[in-house]
């Protein structure tokens, strides 16, 4: 057992730290940067941050050097995530492009597609979204109804997508459509690299319970895509979908480290809040709950390290990432619920009236409900674990 980082990894950490110190937006670490999340200004701020990361060589470290990455090792990715969490770096506006679309293009895209899209993804010139979910196809991805019908060298696309994160700012969409009705519903799916800037594409924001408009409904009315914008083969899109999902691996690590940092914030909150002149952390009931949360978050970090070790040895990620995702998202929900409880009735005060930390706890509490739904619901993760790790039979209906 060895929990240390190599000298090379520590050098890498130092290099990144130095870069972050010089390049984080002014006042970011001090919490002075306050932007309205729905403003154009915020979008430009995030696009600017993406460009800065690219120029510094920190936009997509896991990518091969030829595409502007660093060929980073898995351990370097871990260091990267730890450091980004440590400085609470601004979110990546092109997360979908960087972590999912581009790696999938590198794997199965045509030379022309690689040429056309990859560079624009890393520079942030083109922001991507993911057109998966539909009103009647969430966890059951293959139940999609959006159709693409061939018309010469064009395809006419009709349907509706939902929960499309970044849809309102995206330039392109990794869109899954139905192109044939075959006996097996996994067959007959085709994936398009859709241009979002066209008359047939309309996005409408959805207000989520935390008051944000992060995701959207996307309406496709005779939207147009061309043969050259198909990734993989016509009707064989399921393979592309699976390939893309396999590239989601790095997300989990980030969540584990964020949870660790959020837990430390929670401890600070429990020390700051008072109950009859004594910090709440001294209250026996709070202590028990906090130790319980500590134990389980620590456990989830250690589980992650153990799965990481396995991955380092096997060279590929396994279904264990479902265990990490399930645990971390469920714990995150509990953690913020505890933060609201601890504030007493003040816990209901929101936005500018929130008692402390500018609504950080309240906003995150509300946001946390999405975390056990997005990226595969907890129930789907449990099915995956049951079937792929425990070897139980598939659900009825599948």
């Amino acid at each position: 057992m060895d929990f240390s980082f190599t000298k090379k990894e520590e050098q890498f950490r130092q290099e990144l730290r130095t870069w972050l110190e010089a390049n984080l937006p002014d006042g970011w670490l001090q919490g002075e940067v306050q932007l309205d999340k729905e403003s154009k200004e915020y979008e430009l701020f995030l696009r600017d941050w993406q460009k800065k990361l690219y120029e510094g060589g920190w936009a997509a470290i896991a990518w091969p050097k030829q595409y502007g990455g660093r060929n980073a090792t898995l351990m370097e990715e871990i260091v990267y995530q730890q450091e980004m969490v440590r400085v609470k770096a601004p979110p990546l506006i092109n997360y979908v492009g960087l972590h999912m679309v581009a790696p999938t293009l590198m794997q199965i895209g045509t030379e022309e597609q690689k040429e056309k899209y990859i560079e624009k993804i890393i520079t942030g010139e083109e922001v991507w979204c993911q057109g998966y979910s539909e009103p009647n196809a969430g966890s059951d991805v293959a139940a999609i109804q959006t159709t693409a019908v061939k018309d010469g060298d064009r395809w006419i696309i009709n349907g509706q997508k939902v929960w499309t994160s970044f849809g309102h700012v995206a330039d392109r969409c990794f869109l899954i459509t139905r192109t044939s009705r075959l006996e097996k519903k996994h067959k007959g799916i085709t994936v398009f690299l859709l241009d979002m800037h066209q008359p047939g594409v309309e996005t409408r924001p959805i207000v989520s319970m935390d008051g944000q408009k992060d995701f959207n409904e996307v309406y496709l009315n005779d939207a147009i895509a061309y043969d050259a914008e198909i990734i993989g083969q016509v009707d064989e899109g399921w393979k592309v979908i699976i390939a893309l999902l396999m590239h989601e691996r790095t997300g989990i690590g980030g969540q584990v480290f964020t949870l660790e940092q959020q837990f430390n914030d929670l401890v600070a909150l429990a020390k700051e809040l008072n109950d009859e002149d004594e910090p709440l952390i001294k209250n026996p009931f709070i202590r028990k709950t906090m130790v319980d949360l500590y134990t389980r978050s620590r456990g989830s970090l250690l589980n992650y390290y153990r799965n990481l070790t396995k991955q380092l040895k096997n060279g590929h990620p396994g279904a264990e990432s479902s265990m990490d995702k399930l645990l971390v998202s469920e714990l995150t929900k509990e953690l913020f619920a505890q933060a609201i409880s601890m504030q007493g009735h003040h816990g209901v005060l929101w936005k500018e009236n929130a008692l402390m930390d500018r609504s950080y706890w309240q906003d995150n509490y509300l946001y946390s409900f999405g975390q056990t739904i997005g990226g595969g619901t907890s129930e789907i993760q449990k099915n995956t674990i049951a079937e792929r790790i425990l070897g139980l039979p598939k659900d009825m209906g599948r």
């Binding site: 401890v267 001294k282 130790v291 456990g299 390290y305 153990r306």
Partner: protein, 378 residues
Amino acid sequence: MDFSLNQEQEMFRNYVRKYLDDVGQTKVAREFTEGNTSSFQALYAGLAELGCASVNVSEENGGMGLGQLDLVPILEETGRALLPGLYLETNALAVPLLERFGTEEQKAKYLSAIASGEHTFTVAWLEPSGNYKPSNVKLSGTLQDDVLTLNGVKSLVPDVELANSLLVLVRTSEGQGAEGISLVIVDCDDVSLQVQPQKNMDETRLLAEVTFNNVQVSSQQILGTIDHGWDVLQEGLLSFNAALCSSIVGSMEKIVETAVEYANIREQFNQPIGRFQAIKHRLVDMKMDLETARSLAYYANWAIESDAADKVEAVSSARLFATEAFIKVASQSIQIHGGIGFTEEIDCHLYVKRARFYENYLGSTQQYYEQAAVALGW
């Protein structure tokens, strides 16, 4: 980064697993519950032959000189089989204490005998009306010349009938707190103890009330400094609890395997019950608890072996999580097995009973919550 047991440790696990498979896994524990303790003795000798008893004893005392992490595979495997006896108390409590605090004479006397599998230790701590607080250590030890005279009663002493020595918490000076308590080694062959067996829900372990009536031992039998035995024991409990967690992990692993296997073959409504999400998701929750317990236990044992700065919170949090998870997982398994799970016919109930045995064994869950909070500086 390498958060796993090494190849040698995994290889050793295979030897132990194979040996326990050959003797029928829980068969020996079942025989033990029926009063047959002789088959267990043979099994213990076999394990000692494999080297299990000598793993963490230093080389100069006849052992292999390996560390706490090398106990982990053995403990997981013996936990799977619900091994009766005093392996944990001997190798995970007495050995680390003797290695660290024992005099040369004590080391020579006990360690090589432990390494050869001929000597075991148990712990005499609780008293009839008491809890795990130091104020409840009332058994008195009066020192005159070089002789310590012990008077009092210890309760819930595990497997004293199988033990060669007892680690006894003795009050050697007036006071209520931790000061004035000594840890004394009492050899069963040298003294006369009154032993009154106590019925125990976990029939794979024997419990007894032990009366010390003017029992005389040499002052050379004190482990560590006189009047400072409480601190010595606390140190030993860190190793013990880390090890206990690994034993629990082994039991939980076996439970999850068995429950999954059953859910795959048992059919209702023309389907294996494992196809129903109500069962499936319950099994996943069990698996999650198992893997979290395993990670926490690995880390706790690593923290002991490497004397890490966070070893107290690592051990106490692992211990409280593992004991609670063990009860939960063992109970769920009965529910999954349905009617048959409620009978004595299959092993399910044995694990629930063992889980309850460990829940408050040598310290309560509440105490470990508090110990973790203090270690975290709260």
